[in-house]
Each structure stands twice: as structure tokens, then as C-alpha cells.
């Protein structure tokens, strides 16, 4: 029997079904692996190992009684600490929410619970998901299992570091501008940003409401499709949830890509700051897609160059409003000794928020302030329209669009903390997708020849066309065979 902790969730489900292993043995294996790697990674904020083992035992009993909740009943899962959970604190990586206990579960958590998944714990992240390295966590950075000197990416870095290290078969993250895809890319994993409105945002601590979308982090494409299937679908508690049935994302996944039209973005060719090794692996990936029967076509997305500028006005503006509720009144941290309400709120927020959050709250407040709205927030929302139009035009020509996920591989801790703009530019390929609401996935395409670190290929699909996206990613993954090889695992 292979190491359980390197085994994908669907494979684990098959093994449980075949009676080769119990859910309890699986949970024990992942708990053991988590405990082994946690000291070097710091992926967890709130482990719930004992509860996970108990839940797995209960799942085994259900299965024995023929009452399994799903094929995954008892399989472990972990959540970015941005998902509200009754069973564990929820901080969104911020000191201002230290010790906060939500009185309710996020819809994603409730649905995975209904399928019987056993929660291993809550994972580290950039504070309020603002960051690309997990260095902005209020509780210390998470390390990349491929190189402990380097960042796992962010903001879902706790999720990607833990999955990459074999600490959980799969995990949930959230992606507002690339926060699932970029860390997945930097950790050699599959990361999905579903169509906006496909996964309920109810119970997910809001960063930028019109861009936030939860997504799976896994080692295998089929597991990403399966985990998304468990939680996706209309939720009456989220007004922006798409009232439509989710198609079967898993069964047709091996359909191949013969004849698929795949677009390569002219503007991204030799884009500023793209690491040569990354460019090389991604070029090879394009060639592999062609070999698999895809028809490559060059497309133009002229507005994409404005994506970052627009994103860093829209997201902070919404965030400045979403984060106004952290004022020390109803929950979380409250600064002590303030004589009046204004100073209490202002001190609470100054002491409770980290630098990046304060920076973006200031930026967003500025972008919305009287006299600046039209020039900044207003214009940015119009640029969003241009980006969407570019994509619609492209989809007349192609079924999918490919690009690097991140211009570089994992960078060193502290390398970019002093230069916010440089940090922001690492989202250049992912941000436009959130602006338009399309679906996208990052799939590993090996390691970079110049530093031996993982490189990710981004595959962008039409809104609600996750099926095509998964088929392409699966075909590529199977043909590359990297994830199942020894190179596909960090030597941690």
C-alpha cells in the first residue's frame, strides 16, 4: 500500500470502498503527517486533530451501517481560516479577530460536512486574504515545503503548503485576485478559481465581495473537480449565487482535448518580469497541449495590461467597506483604555490590523472618497467592462485561454515585503480573470530549470464552463505524469 498521505482523495475513497483501509486509518495518517511537517511549515492556525479522528470513526460506523454520507465520508479536509466554522475559531489571519468563534458554519463547510468530510483544522493565510506570500498573516508566515526559505505564495499559502507536504489530501482556499492559483502554482499543486457565483460566499470572511470566490487546492485535477462538486451550487443565502444546477464535473473529465481551440495571449509573450524558466516550462506546456490535439491560436487581450491598476482600486475599495465592521464593538479585539468611541475604534483598528491591511484600507477609502470616486473607483469598474469584452471577443475564437499562473516561482521570505507594488505585480496573469468572473485553474507543469521550483500553467475558461477547463487540465496532467512521479513531491 502506498503512503496514504501522498494519495489523492478520490483514490482514498476507492480504497475505503474496496475495504483496503478505514477512514480512521486515513485520518490518523494525515494527522501524523501534519504533526510531522507543521513545525517547519506553520500551515495551521487552529488544528482540530482529535475531532478529525472522531469524525472519521463516526464515518466508519456510518459506512458499516450502510449510511455513508458520500463516497468521501470520513476523508479529511482542511480550510483556509477565512471560512466560518462553529467547531474552530475563525480569524481570517488577523489579530483583530483573535479568538473569534463564529455562531455558524460557512455554506462550503456545511456542505462538506454533510458529505462527511472530517476537518483537520483551519489554515494560515495573508491577513484578510490580502497578499501573495502568506507573510501578511497576523500569526507569522507559512513556509514553502519545496524550500523552507521561500514563501508558499498567497493568500491561501497555508492550504497549498499543507497539501503540497501531504498534510491533507485536499483543502479549501479563496481566490480574489489569484489567491488560490498563485500559491498552488508556487507549491506545485492544482488550484481552482471557479466561475463567480458558483460557490456560495456565505460564511466566507469578505475581502472584495465582487471578486471573492472559494476554490479547491489539490494534488490531482480529478480531486479538484470532486471537491468543487461537493460544495458548488445555488445557495439562497448568497444573492450573487448562480441559480443553476452544477453539471457533473468528474465523470467526463477524461474526455480529452482533441480539437479544442486554445488561445495564447499575445500581450503576455515576454511579459515584464517573467522568469525565463517559467516562460520555458509554460511554452513546453503549450506544445504538449498541441500534441494532445488542441489547436493553438494567438489571441489579443489589450485591456489586460490595465488589470492590476483596476484591481488595486476595486479590491481595496470594497475591502475598505467590508473591513469597517472590525471596530472592537461586537466581537474580536478591542483596544483598552480609550476615552470615547472614535478613539476606541481608531486604536482598535490601528493595533488590530497589519500594515498591508491598513495600506489597502487607506487606498480603498481614498479611491471612494468624494472627489476621487470617478477618477479611481469609477474608472476601474469601467476597465472591468473592457476586460470582460476582451475575453468575450476571445471566446468567439477559442474555447480556453492559457498563460503562466505566476510570472515567477516561489520567492524568498522578505524579498518583496518592502515593495508592495512588486508584490502586486505577481498577480498580473490571475487578476483579470477575477475581474471578469471567469473560471480558471492552475495546473503544475514541472519545475523551473533555473531554480528547481514548481511552475504553474493557468487555463482560463468561459464562465460556467468548468467541464472544459477540467478536461484540458486533466489531459495535460495525465500526459505530463509529473504529480505522480517522485519529482512531484517536495523532499520534506
Amino acid at each position: 500500500m502506498p503512503d496514504l498521505h501522498w494519495t489523492g482523495a478520490r483514490e482514498l475513497a476507492r480504497m475505503i470502498e474496496g475495504g483496503d483501509v478505514t477512514a480512521e486509518e486515513i485520518a490518523a495518517a494525515f494527522v501524523a503527517r501534519s504533526e510531522a511537517v507543521e513545525p517547519s511549515l506553520h500551515a495551521y492556525l487552529h488544528p482540530t486533530f482529535d475531532e478529525a479522528i472522531d469524525d472519521a470513526r463516526a464515518a466508519d460506523r456510518r459506512r458499516a451501517a450502510g449510511e455513508a454520507r458520500s463516497a468521501f465520508d470520513g476523508v479529511p479536509v482542511a480550510y483556509k481560516d477565512i471560512f466560518c466554522t462553529r467547531a474552530a475559531p475563525t480569524t481570517s489571519g488577523s489579530k483583530i479577530l483573535d479568538g473569534f468563534r463564529p455562531p455558524y458554519d460557512a455554506t462550503v463547510v456545511a456542505r462538506c460536512g454533510a458529505a462527511g468530510l472530517a476537518m483537520l483544522g483551519k489554515l494560515n493565510m495573508d491577513e484578510f486574504a490580502m497578499g501573495s506570500s502568506t507573510e501578511n498573516s497576523g500569526f507569522g508566515p507559512t513556509k514553502n515545503p519545496w524550500d523552507l526559505e521561500r514563501v508558499p505564495g498567497g493568500s491561501s499559502g497555508g492550504s497549498t503548503a499543507l497539501v503540497a507536504a501531504g498534510g491533507t489530501p485536499w483543502a479549501w482556499g479563496t481566490d480574489t485576485g489569484g489567491s488560490v492559483r498563485q500559491p498552488a502554482s508556487l507549491c506545485g499543486l492544482v488550484g481552482v478559481k471557479p466561475t463567480y457565483g458558483m460557490v456560495s460566499r456565505y460564511g466566507i470572511v469578505a475581502f472584495a465581495s465582487s471578486l471573492d470566490q472559494a476554490g479547491p487546492v489539490t494534488r490531482k485535477v480529478e480531486d479538484a473537480a470532486a471537491l468543487l462538486q461537493l460544495a458548488a451550487g445555488h445557495d439562497p443565502y448568497d444573492s450573487t449565487s448562480i441559480p443553476r444546477d452544477v453539471p457533473d464535473l468528474v465523470s467526463g473529465i477524461d474526455g480529452g482535448i482533441d480539437g479544442m481551440r486554445v488561445g495564447i495571449v499575445r500581450e503576455f509573450q515576454g511579459a515584464e518580469g517573467t522568469q525565463p524558466g517559467v516562460a520555458q516550462r509554460v511554452e513546453e506546456a503549450y506544445a504538449r497541449l498541441e500534441k494532445l490535439g488542441a489547436r493553438l491560436e494567438e489571441i489579443s487581450l489589450p485591456s489586460f495590461e490595465h488589470g492590476i491598476s483596476a484591481y488595486y482600486l476595486v479590491a481595496p475599495a470594497e475591502a475598505s467597506s467590508n473591513l469597517a465592521r472590525y471596530d472592537g464593538v461586537r466581537y474580536g479585539f478591542r483596544a483598552s483604555g480609550a476615552p470615547d468611541i472614535v478613539s476606541m475604534m481608531s486604536r482598535t483598528r490601528d493595533e488590530g490590523f497589519g500594515d498591508e491591511v491598513k495600506r489597502r484600507v487607506m487606498l480603498g477609502t481614498y479611491a471612494l472618497a468624494a472627489g476621487y470616486y470617478d477618477a479611481y473607483y469609477g474608472k476601474a469598474q469601467k476597465v472591468r467592462t473592457l476586460i470582460t469584452r476582451d475575453l468575450e471577443r476571445a471566446y468567439e475564437q477559442v474555447d480556453l485561454i492559457v498563460s503562466p499562473t505566476s510570472p515567477t516561482t516561489a520567492f524568498r521570505l522578505g524579498e518583496r515585503t518592502s515593495d508592495p507594488l512588486a508584490m502586486y505585480l505577481s498577480d498580473i496573469f490571475t487578476v483579470p480573470v477575477n475581474m471578469a468572473g471567469n473560471a480558471a485553474i492552475s495546473v503544475p507543469c514541472g519545475t523551473s530549470p533555473d531554480d528547481g521550483l514548481p511552475v504553474g500553467l493557468q487555463i482560463i475558461a468561459r464562465s460556467l464552463d468548468e467541464q472544459t477547463m477540467f478536461r484540458a487540465a486533466y489531459a495535460f496532467e495525465q500526459d505530463l505524469g509529473w504529480i505522480d512521479s517522485a519529482e512531484g513531491r517536495p523532499s520534506l
Binding site: 466560518c84 466566507i204 439562497p236 448568497d238 444573492s239 450573487t240 471596530d327 461586537r330
Partner: protein, 488 residues
């Protein structure tokens, strides 16, 4: 106000009215809407602004808003949006209020008001939907916010659907303002969308008052007046404010833009804050909610289903029932009263006017004494009609009826029963009537003689005399028989 000095000035008033809708659940969550109960017992993650919670709009609240906008003759926006109004306040859980900005549900309407000033149309600038805040209690000092030691927050009210109705600055005096609020309140009550209790705060009115020289190009300094908790307060506060500003200008003082607080006890306003900088609410479209595009057919069906307006009802009561202005005023003071009167009027055979008088004069007298609403009274419309009927057919006198009404009001029993209990009913017992009959015969020798002589038509006169003697209580038939026997 119309002495020549004051006429040099022009008063301009705009009113901003907030109305809590009487839906079962809150605007964006399932928590119950209500007044009573322990603090913080009607809250949930949504109305507490907990991390991760999301709003979902209440369909009935939107329908009520459409009703209000249509009743105020507004244009309904084909597409309306919710915006976030951002400002920090401890009674506001998210530190932004979900409200509407440049795409309100209704705009460009009007409300017709009338009074001694005549009849005029007050423009309605906008009707929009938003959410209410929680409630703060200020502890220490005088209990006013200014000198309190700390405050306590209760979020039961947070998220209650709130409709904001903004008038154009078309109101020219405190009297017109009172008329506007009275008419608006009656209209909202008739629509059944709110209990419009100003004392409880389910209807709140703020005013912008400015006085300037007649014919001046610009308005005077805009003064906002708050804390007017009854229609009476609106009148008093604005009378005071109008005079204060006129006097100030007359004394050559310059008025400043400020917010003033009305004090019920002293009937005066005092400065709360002078606005040296405008608030920056940073409005932007609420990303957690999607646009609202009302189906035109739905809007029309709501328009068609609008109830009779208070104005129309007053008109109808005057013409179809021929009621006096006074009675119309009393009987249309509330929807409940109007319905009560109409219920009584339909059962009553005679002139509705007569029932109206009994309600506005006698019944309301009893209500005031008891200090209760008509709705709480034991007596039913049918019972009152029955009473008036007894007076009409002479069973009891009007004087007796007042006593009977008092009894009915207290016990809730029918007029007939009360009449019986008080022994006011007809007497049919011969032995009881014999004495009266004998007396009448003795007092009317000639008439009696005529009857003996066979002139039976004269017997009617003697029956009448007996009826008189018995204050109409005698049974005429029995009396007739008795007389025939005694004079036969």
C-alpha cells in the same frame, strides 16, 4: 404667521421621513421585526454584521416600498440599485448602511395637502429602501448622548426595513409641515405598510428649515431639526425654529448651517452640531446584492390594488353620507375609525349621519374617558346601529340611549338587553297598566263618554294619553284592549 414684519421673509422647509415597514422579518435576514422583548434576542450573523454574513432582500419590503412610491405618485425606476453608505457608528453593525443612492425605487412624486393655507402639492423628491440601525442607551449624565459616561447597544432593531421619503423644499410654514406629516401618516396607514407610531419611532421626521428675505436668490442657511417625536412636536418645533430664524435675521444676525435638537418639555430647539465639513459617505454599489428590475406587470398590479386614499375617503364621506366637516375629520382620523363607521352605517336603516353623530360625539367621549382606541372597545358597529334604531322607533328616548350606550360600552352587550336590564322596555302586563288606564279615563271624561257612545275612533286618543303617562313604555295593543273592556 402673517404680520408685515414676518412677511419680509420666506420660510422654506423640506421634510425627510423614515418609516419602519411592518414586515414579519427584517430587510436582509430572517430575524423577526418587533418592538418588545429582551435586548439582542432578535439578531443573527447577518444583522449583527458578523464576518462572512450576506444580505438577501425581503420581497415584501420591496413590494411595500413600491406601494408607497406609487401612492405618492412617483415614477418607478425600471432598474434600481442598493448602495453602501459608509460611516462609523456603534449602533450600525457593519459600519455601513445598505441604502439607495442614485437609483432609488421611486422619484418625482407628490403629496397633496390642505388646511387654512388652502390646498397645495408638495413634491416628493425620492422614495428609497434601506435598513434601520440598532438602538443606543446613553448611561450617566442627563441620559442625553452629550454628557453620558458610556452607551449600551441593542441590535434588535438593526436591519428592520426602513423607507425614506424625501420631500422637495416646497413646504412654506410649520402649519404646512404639520399638514404634510398628518397626510403622509394617514396615507401610509391606509397602505398597511407600517404602524406609523411616531412616539415608538416607527415613523421619524427630520426637517430642513431655512428662512430668507422674500425674493432672495438662494435659500438661507439650512438648519436641520431632529427629535420631533409626534405630529404636535413637528408643529411646535418648526414654529419655534421659523420664528427663531426670522427674529435672528430681523436683528441682523447671520444664521449658520447646523443641526438642532427639539426639546419636548421646553418646546425649543438647541444646537446639536454645526456642520463645518460635509460627511463623506463614500457611496458605492452594494456588491453583495444584485440590481432590482421590477416587472412592469407586477408594478401595475400593485398600483391597481392600492386602497382608497385618505383624501378620497374624506371626499366620499362628505358627499355620499352628507357628513359635516367635523364628523368627516373625526371619522377619517384613522382607517380603523372609518371602517368602524362604515360597518355601522351599512347595518343601520336610517340616515348614516345619525350613526356618525353618535360615534363622533358620544362614543368618542366614552373612548377618551376610558383612554382606549376604538379597536379596543367592546361595542360593535352593529350594536351601535341597533341602539340608534331603538331611539328612532321610540322604544327609548335619546336621553335614555346615552345611558344605554354607556352600559353597552362597559359590557359589550346588545342595546335590547341593556334596555331590558334597565327596565326601559315596554310594559305589557295588564295589572301594571290598569292604574294608568283608569287615571286617563278619569282625566278625560268627554273622550271616554264618546267611546262608550260607540265612537271607537276616539279610543286612539286615549291610548296616546296612556302612552304619554307611561313615557312610551306601555304596550299600545294591551292598552287598547283594556280601554275597550272598561268602556265597552
Amino acid at each position: 404667521m402673517s404680520t408685515t414684519v414676518e412677511d419680509r421673509y420666506k420660510t422654506t422647509i423640506g421634510l425627510e421621513t423614515h418609516v419602519e415597514l411592518s414586515t414579519s422579518s427584517k430587510m436582509f435576514c430572517g430575524c423577526e421585526v418587533g418592538f418588545a422583548g429582551e435586548p439582542n434576542t432578535r439578531t443573527c450573523p447577518v444583522c449583527l454584521g458578523m464576518p462572512g454574513s450576506l444580505p438577501v432582500a425581503n420581497a415584501t419590503a420591496i413590494e411595500y416600498t413600491l406601494r408607497i412610491a406609487l401612492a405618492l405618485n412617483c415614477t418607478i425606476a425600471p432598474r434600481s440599485l442598493f448602495h453602501r453608505k459608509n460611516y462609523f457608528y456603534p449602533d450600525m453593525p457593519k459600519n455601513y448602511q445598505i441604502s439607495q443612492y442614485d437609483y432609488p425605487v421611486g422619484s418625482q412624486g407628490f403629496l397633496e395637502i390642505s388646511g387654512d393655507f388652502g390646498t397645495k402639492r408638495v413634491g416628493i423628491n425620492r422614495v428609497h429602501l434601506e435598513e434601520d440601525t440598532g438602538k443606543s442607551i446613553h448611561v450617566g449624565g442627563s441620559g442625553r448622548i452629550a454628557d453620558s459616561d458610556y452607551s449600551l447597544e441593542d441590535f434588535n432593531r438593526a436591519g428592520t426595513p426602513l423607507v425614506e421619503i424625501v420631500s422637495e423644499p416646497d413646504i412654506g410654514s410649520a402649519e404646512e409641515a404639520r399638514a404634510y406629516v398628518t397626510e403622509l401618516r394617514a396615507l401610509l396607514e391606509s397602505l398597511g405598510v407600517s404602524d406609523v407610531r411616531m412616539e415608538e419611532g416607527s415613523m421619524r421626521v427630520d426637517a430642513n428649515v431655512s428662512v430668507a428675505l422674500q425674493g432672495a436668490e438662494e435659500f438661507g442657511a439650512k438648519v436641520e431639526v431632529k427629535n420631533m417625536n409626534s405630529i404636535r412636536s413637528v408643529g411646535r418645533a418648526l414654529e419655534f425654529e421659523e420664528k427663531r430664524q426670522r427674529d435672528a435675521l430681523a436683528n441682523g444676525e447671520t444664521l449658520v448651517q447646523e443641526t438642532r435638537h427639539f426639546d419636548e418639555k421646553t418646546s425649543t430647539t438647541s444646537s446639536l452640531r454645526t456642520k463645518e465639513f460635509a460627511f463623506d459617505y463614500r457611496y458605492f454599489p452594494e456588491p453583495d446584492l444584485v440590481p432590482f428590475q421590477p416587472d412592469p406587470e407586477w408594478v401595475e398590479s400593485i398600483r391597481d390594488a392600492l386602497p382608497e386614499t385618505p383624501a378620497a375617503r374624506r371626499e366620499r364621506f362628505a358627499t355620499t353620507y352628507g357628513l359635516s366637516d367635523y364628523d368627516v375629520g373625526v371619522l377619517t382620523s384613522s382607517v380603523a375609525t372609518s371602517d368602524w363607521f362604515e360597518a355601522a352605517a351599512t347595518v343601520y336603516a336610517g340616515e348614516p349621519k345619525r350613526v356618525a353623530n353618535w360615534i363622533s360625539a358620544d362614543l368618542f367621549g366614552l373612548l377618551n374617558e376610558a383612554g382606549i382606541e376604538l379597536a379596543q372597545a367592546k361595542i360593535t358597529p352593529a350594536q351601535l346601529a341597533g341602539l340608534v334604531q331603538l331611539v328612532d322607533d321610540g322604544t327609548i328616548s335619546g336621553k335614555q340611549a346615552k345611558t344605554v350606550l354607556a352600559q353597552m360600552f362597559a359590557s359589550g352587550s346588545d342595546a335590547q338587553d341593556v334596555v331590558a336590564d334597565l327596565g326601559l322596555q315596554q310594559v305589557s302586563d295588564e295589572s301594571a297598566l290598569e292604574a294608568a288606564v283608569d287615571e286617563v279615563i278619569a282625566e278625560n271624561e268627554d273622550a271616554a263618554a264618546k267611546v262608550r257612545a260607540g265612537q271607537l275612533n276616539t279610543i286612539g286618543f286615549l291610548v296616546g294619553q296612556v302612552m304619554k303617562k307611561t313615557k312610551g313604555r306601555a304596550n299600545p295593543g294591551i292598552v287598547n284592549d283594556l280601554l275597550k273592556r272598561k268602556l265597552g
